[in-house]
Symmetry: C2
Subunit: 759 residues, 2 copies
Amino acid sequence: MRIKNLAVIKLVIIAIFFVVVSCEKKPEDVLESKSASEHPSLILSKQGVKDIRANLGNIPIFDKTLAVTQSEVDAEIKKGFDVPVPKDYSGGYTHQVHKKNFLMLQKAGVLFQILQDEKYAIYVRDMLMEYAKLYPTLPLHPQTRSYARGKLFWQCLNDSNWLVYTSQAYDCIYNYLKPEERATLENDLFRPFANFISEGNPQFFNRVHNHSTWGNVAVGMIALVMDDDDLLEKALNGLKTDNLQEGLKDNDGGFIKKKGQKVGFLANVDEPFSPDGYYTEGPYYQRYAMYPFLIFAQALNNVKPELKIFEHKNGVLLKAVNTLLNLSDANGDFFPINDGQKGMSYYSRELVTAVDIAYYFGGQNPELLSIAKKQNKVVLDDTGLAIAKGIRDGRAVPFVKKSIEFGDGPNGEQGGIGILRSNDLELVYKYTSQGLSHGHYDKLSFSLYNNGEEVIQDYGLARFVNIEQKGGGNYLKENKTWAKETIAHNTIVQNETSHFNHKYEIASKNYSVKYLFDSSNSELQIASAKELNAYHGTELHRTMVMINDKEFENPFVLDIMKVNSDKKNQYDLPYYYMGQIMKVNFKYKVPSTLKPLGKENGYQHLWKEGYGKSAFENAKLSWLNNGNFYTLTTTVEEKDDLIFARIGANDPDFNLRRDPSFIIRRNNTQNTVFASVIETHGSYSPVSEFAVNATSAISKVKIIYNNDSYTAVSIENINGKTKIFIISNNDASKESKHNLNINNMEYQWVGPYNYTNIN
Amino acid sequence: MRIKNLAVIKLVIIAIFFVVVSCEKKPEDVLESKSASEHPSLILSKQGVKDIRANLGNIPIFDKTLAVTQSEVDAEIKKGFDVPVPKDYSGGYTHQVHKKNFLMLQKAGVLFQILQDEKYAIYVRDMLMEYAKLYPTLPLHPQTRSYARGKLFWQCLNDSNWLVYTSQAYDCIYNYLKPEERATLENDLFRPFANFISEGNPQFFNRVHNHSTWGNVAVGMIALVMDDDDLLEKALNGLKTDNLQEGLKDNDGGFIKKKGQKVGFLANVDEPFSPDGYYTEGPYYQRYAMYPFLIFAQALNNVKPELKIFEHKNGVLLKAVNTLLNLSDANGDFFPINDGQKGMSYYSRELVTAVDIAYYFGGQNPELLSIAKKQNKVVLDDTGLAIAKGIRDGRAVPFVKKSIEFGDGPNGEQGGIGILRSNDLELVYKYTSQGLSHGHYDKLSFSLYNNGEEVIQDYGLARFVNIEQKGGGNYLKENKTWAKETIAHNTIVQNETSHFNHKYEIASKNYSVKYLFDSSNSELQIASAKELNAYHGTELHRTMVMINDKEFENPFVLDIMKVNSDKKNQYDLPYYYMGQIMKVNFKYKVPSTLKPLGKENGYQHLWKEGYGKSAFENAKLSWLNNGNFYTLTTTVEEKDDLIFARIGANDPDFNLRRDPSFIIRRNNTQNTVFASVIETHGSYSPVSEFAVNATSAISKVKIIYNNDSYTAVSIENINGKTKIFIISNNDASKESKHNLNINNMEYQWVGPYNYTNIN
């Protein structure tokens, strides 16, 4: 290489001088150099960094998280980074590398601030500069499956993930960078990036959907760092015009544009969250969405405190954290309603962020400290510092999950979900709206847990998220043909067809109706709801009661499903019990060859393992699971078919679990009631080999009264004591007085139900 | 009632005086009154009691156990006791009460000694007196199922349990009792009781069987308390004459009398225990038998130290404890070979006793302290005191389970069991003898564990021990029709018939032959054995290798099953993998209706869920279980049928678990080799949703050489590196030199096998 003239030599000398000078700067000096707008300010703050540094070594859980993060990032710095030309879907190399990169950028940025070691800033700067070189050269991502293809990734969703994290990294090294470096990054990378996922993809950006939330937040985060109010406005309230047609759908079958739909971040808070903080897609997706919602709220609160984002919609964002924690079982696993993968829990990284933010901005609730303590890590910022100090100072108190109801829908008036809890027993009763494209067709379904063990399961989804061998880690076809179908759930199926005939367009316009929820009496808690639209001409009314009666060893569940129709139908009521059958009280046959239970609507996936009829008024099924005994006692009629089924038919790729079900099939019936009691009783230890209290304590369950106004069920125990439960079917008022004669006995009570001794 | 004369009045007054005096004695005085032979001496000793009392309050784990025991016994004393006329089988009231009584008697006796509170002695005395009143009136137990009916219980076995525990109670209050009370108890209860279960039931007492062990020990324990050497002689060496016919069987199908059979306690130590301390029935029954063996050994050692019982057969009794601990997985659960119920573990009460005794009498091995620490309770005697002190003083070190082989048979020459361990992987390879009446027909079978999770399972038994609803808690008929059959295990089935044609008489005369066991090289551990008699005219030779090769993420298993026969057969080799299928590499069909795989020999219990053939040399099956991925890569021939099966056909009572199996079926073949590699790789977390290393690292497994002398298998990994493993089939000498040409490559090595790079 030949040097052409003196001017160039001068330039080189000046450049070398600057590099030398910047290398010689001590870390402290780096942070002293102030710019016009303060940085960091997005998530970390200058004051926050000072506080953190002052406490280091004295905040165990924070120190531990920091050490783990440092060793992880140091290892990556040592390895060096790659910024490859995008090529692959989720499982592939370029996808994984770009994903790792944004996670590392964010962490390195934080480490630069906290440890004030320049190597982290250099790592962030150098990698961002590579991205700034690559990005302008990129066409659309070569993989075509998405309705909104990205550039770094196959979908704009992942591009948005990238920007949410990278904005934080940029903020952390903002002041470290020279103005011309900032100019390069903003002009070649961040602005075109933000424009692409917004103006360039209105079908992605201008929606109410978790995808759009990520898009809005990505644009909003970089807007705050760059102090760009126009961009921020787009993030908060969406694009003014988008030229999208109403009724357009994405590749998951969800609607893109609905009439009169507001868009942008604020609309994404307003609509899918109910006032109770329930996110309409269910807890699995609420968990996924919580990160962008809360991280952006934290940034807005830091940079634009005048927006009072944490007070928006009565503080729904912080309330939602509490809601989500209450939607988990005793192990912290989220209830897998709708498309939820089992095992996802409050130990996820999203919930670490959520809990830390909720603690810091939500009044430092000491119950959250006990969750953070179990999580055993914190966010490396002001919120994590506060949590770490709280735990260190022994301020944690147990997070007590109580019985609670959450309304669904923007105004909380589109049904809801009721959780009844008593001792170790947790009942999840679902009477929500459809839950967007991730909803299942399971109106009035329920699931039951005993100390975190599934007693009556909700199947969850048919997908192995991110496991490439199983359909690329995406939704499997059995998610539609099995997991979403009604028969896959613990609720009524009429004539072997799913609710709303499995039509999303219809289902998404309807929701169940809350009838009654009362957990104020710990001896009898009740949740009751109606569904009027799942089957045209049929009304379903299910009442679930958790009774804590000293006559019984444990609380038990009374389940009353009342069906009224304008014609005769076949009704199937399945119970997806988990465990090994111990005993049944009726005669049945097991076939010598197994055939599917039906041809379609999910029935094609069930093997018919056995079938029988009961000569008694009750069918009883007892089973054992993980050291506990359970018994279902259900009222049956002579013509009922009692079916033992097992999942797994027509499953050529072994995508489904071989779990069992017990189905009560009532044929050729117009109006009817199914009444069942589910007990948990006794225990078995394979170590002591003692079986304690292994049999049911209930001798009879009987429907002793049923008309439009009232339904009454009697429950007799093996000691001959009988209780009756009466519900008023059309008057849930707490004040109403009732008077009813059943079998020559007079019952008088006030309020929607009555539970009393009969002898 | 009229008083007849003065003499009677005098007697009454004297009696009252004695009662008052004895009531007024202070507890200390009670123990000071010495009798000729010292008591307690059986399990507790006078010195031991002093030591325990001196340490109370300062030995946490002992103090805790004591407190629990005290509160339990106090509650029983408060309730009062019942000594009902015997009537029921195991599930019923009288059985349960008599069982509780002997447990309480033993505990109360110990509490009397340690706490020196007279109420415990009174409780024991009064209850024993009730038994002394009842016993002489008792006919045989009314239930007739047993080959040796008891009096208190339906079988002599349970009567013996009663006496083993009660003898200890009697010893503890011996000195507290008046001579006439002792006379009553001995004459009316203990002597006739001991005579009944010995002379009265030679078919029970004069055997080598765990039943007889209990009988021998019961008689021996009471003999030691009563200082009766004649009785002790019967216990140790059996009855001199028994008039039993050879070939007689019990109701479980086990032999009662074999030709030249020695009997009594010492014979029961000599025969079922191998010199390595392996008990031929397997660990589940070894655990059951350990209590009488060890408690009597402790008593003998205390009272008759000159017998040096702990040195008998080179100290096999103490060695057996170590053996049993090594026969457990990472969670402490015993490997469920033969009739073993899953979940039984070293947390059982029998193992608490065993570990405490082994520690105290076996050289205070500090590794046992770590087991006792996990058990979190101790025996309330000298042995428990020693353990508690060791733990308190921080002397516990981890119990490290290593790879180990245990010979089976009285001389250790009837096959054996090999355990190979590397990191989290544990392989259990069974080439034992039949294992008496609790043995399964599964020569050369194996099971595999990863950190305590089953990877390739052994089914265990078909029984729900003590769960009354399931066949009275006894063996279910499926134990014979399924669990014992060969196809229920991971080994070769020829022509769909079980080993030895499921004939106990033949099976019990045969055993597999150890060929090679070497765990000295942690990079390659090997266990190899042959079975020559399971099928007439067919020789099986299976070699299992655990290879820890840095080219692979984790250690993996190489499984070579070589079959030579004098005719063509069908061979089935099942793998009972646990988990959900991720991927297979061959084409298969799933049937639209499920049929059983066969008609008999266990096949009638398998549903045929899928079947295919491989166009490649290897069939691959990958599955996921509890967050780990596994892959089986197995050599197949074009004609092989690859079968997906599931347990559960012809199971009218839902007694069987619906677990899956993958079966390689080789048709119409005379001599052949099955070579397979089982990998554990990667991980999946439903919380992070990261799937790491989810696919197999092996691209090809190939049998590259096979004749009578050598079998060689090559293993190629996905990076193109190939290793070969050669085993010499008929020369296991470590010194032999071998020289072999395979595909124009020369291999030279010393010893029975060679593992080397091929490129």
